[in-house]
Symmetry: C2
Subunit: 385 residues, 2 copies
């Protein structure tokens, strides 16, 4: 491997845009630049491209195209699901979990600050929500249950079908943040009412995503204006972005079996090798996990120092969510899993993409023991102390 | 001119991305794809690009970089200004005008439906808001005044400095939607507290824009999550889009004198020639106008038929705002100007861009009399009847 080739193992933060995706987008910046709401040929051409992308995504999810609402990304999709449901009334009850992405968690916090009741479901040591807990938490005034499909920091997959069935039984809308799960695992769309997706986690462009909204689900819009997306999300359609999201979806679904099998192989190998290092643990579920995420903790090490040291070896990884990187608090996910504080500060998330090769994994496994030893030698804390 | 070259005179709906803009964006889809919140080299590289773009924009507006909040576009920026101000309380008073873009108008409508008081300022026959009316409308509980800088349908420029000075005097925050004005006319930033901008109206990409927020202006965020943009707008930064917006800004400001002078020439020539047709009027102000917009009405003609007929001649224009195209109501702007209904239905907006050539104007002026005559011959209404 050439010295300058970086090893990118932070695909849960963002992914390189697939060449096929960029190629499909380019014409919509150049000659096919119409506004999809314009009546003339240029506008109708853009409209067709938007609707073809919508139809493609709907086909892969086995839903109706009119149920796909394009947004600026998953943060907006999550906010639309939570705030769009809650702001229809001036109060009410929402259920979510302790390990949600900040886009769900802080939307729920904001609603709580405005007088809504929010129940935060606990998780077990592997980060699993219990479907029975969901059943017990539902009240007559529950407006929404929001539990993510697969966790972005530790990879744990939730019992989405069981949770969805309970919500259905009790006629409570069920939202799931599927940012990391989309295109990776099967999603039980028959019991999901709303589902958030981001393009840039899937080798699509940043700045675009969608919220699946089951027909009949009532939402007040977050963005008011020209009435785009059938009045559910105003703003000129990001045509190149939407086209890119469509192609990224197609690639992800078509390649899914092959790519996820390779990712699972990488994950198993990583777990086997990393756990050989002393005073190390795997965070999350050993098997009920997204294929592309493995999260480890190293005693007596600061996660951020580990990331920076690996970066010196030209290896890109993260401590957890990129979205909370500037925050020095231990990860709310690891705290919810009950990871001891001595371990919660020393976490490493390794996440693979469709471009990841065995070479990349080998480079990490070569550098990691060196870096861990260096940091432990410098640490004021003693391993096992 | 070759038969297939389309004449694009709908630059107020959207613009082709400038080649320099696309060229600057491409690397951020490919090799420089990092998440700007990641700690590693790829992340820091993306962060630098975002902050350089922010600094570039701030420099051209003569504001501080920290006052620029990147959004998914102007609709989000407008919503953030209005809802972000209003939702800090459970009630209060907002002042806006009858001729705002739907993103402001429908945000105000939504707030009104939730119990806020909204005053809609009237405009004169040219579409001008009176600064005195603003002064009279301000109450002790007024939370915000929002008046657009230049109208998107008829081009009329508002007395923004006078309105801003009154707001300053009365300590009421002043927001202006500058989507059409940015890069075209001088903006009195010293009296503006918030200002909305969209990239795709300015030869930048769709799906990105910003809200200028003067230091000290209090807003509750619309999108909650990872705390991006200093907690004012969460969501992974659209790095290629933000880079594109920076380059588009630079081009617009550097070329402004030359490009707007050419646009003014086109506008004067268009007005002179179009008004030679019988039963035709100019909508908006003859001189206090954005340089790139001219709006005409043709008696006894449906605007949509006119657009479609011109489209057959490979000329792209619009009746007014692309955002309300699917709506068959007469334009709320033309109604507010007091344009008679017989005329309000037959409007044509011609809007030029940096790529517009005299050939394009000539092609329109050649086709227009033919098309107008054809439609009038078919019309059940009689001109002057």
């Amino acid at each position: 491997m050439a010295m300058n080739k970086n090893v990118y193992l932070d695909n849960s933060a963002t992914t390189p845009v697939a060449p096929e995706v960029l190629e499909a987008m380019i014409p919509f910046f150049q000659s096919r630049y119409g506004n999809a709401s314009s009546l003339h040929s240029e506008g109708r051409d853009a409209r067709r491209a938007v609707e073809e992308s919508r139809a493609l995504i709907a086909e892969h999810l086995k839903v109706h195209p009119s149920e796909i609402v394009f947004t600026s990304g998953a943060t907006e999709a999550d906010n639309l699901a939570l705030l769009g449901t809650a702001l229809r009334s001036t109060g009410g009850h929402l259920i979510t979990s302790r390990i949600e992405h900040d886009a769900v968690r802080h939307s729920a916090d904001w609603l709580a600050s405005r007088g809504y009741d929010v129940t935060l479901l606990e998780v077990d040591e592997f980060g699993r929500v219990s479907a029975d807990d969901v059943r017990e938490a539902i009240r007559p005034d529950t407006m929404l249950v929001s539990v993510m499909a697969g966790n972005n920091e530790v990879g744990t997959i939730q019992p989405i079908r069981a949770i969805g069935e309970i919500c259905r039984e009790r006629s409570v809308p069920f939202h799931t943040d599927a940012v990391q799960a989309y295109g990776k695992i099967e999603l039980p769309m028959d019991v999901i009412d709303m589902l958030s997706v981001s393009a840039h986690k899937l080798h699509g462009p940043k700045g675009v995503g969608f919220l699946y909204v089951r027909k009949g689900t009532k939402l007040t819009p977050l963005l008011h204006g020209g009435g785009h997306e059938h009045g559910r999300r105003s703003g000129t359609e990001n045509v190149p972005g939407i086209v890119g999201l469509g192609v990224a979806t197609q690639i992800a679904f078509e390649e899914r079996d092959r790519v996820t099998q390779r990712m699972e192989g990488f994950r198993e190998y990583l777990i086997q090798e990393v756990l050989k290092l002393p005073a190390t643990r795997l965070n999350g579920h050993p098997t009920e996990s997204l294929p592309h995420i493995a999260n480890f903790s190293f005693e007596a090490i600061e996660g951020e120092s580990l990331i920076m040291k690996l970066d010196e070896h030209h290896i890109a990884t993260s401590t957890g969510s990129a979205c909370s990187s500037p925050n020095l608090e231990p990860s709310h996910v690891l705290v919810a899993l009950g990871v001891p504080l001595s371990m919660a500060h020393g976490s490493l998330r390794v996440s693979t993409g469709r471009q990841t090769m065995q070479d990349d994994i080998d480079a990490l496994l070569k550098a990691l023991p060196i870096v861990v030893q260096e940091l432990r030698d410098m640490s004021p804390f003693k391993v096992g102390g």
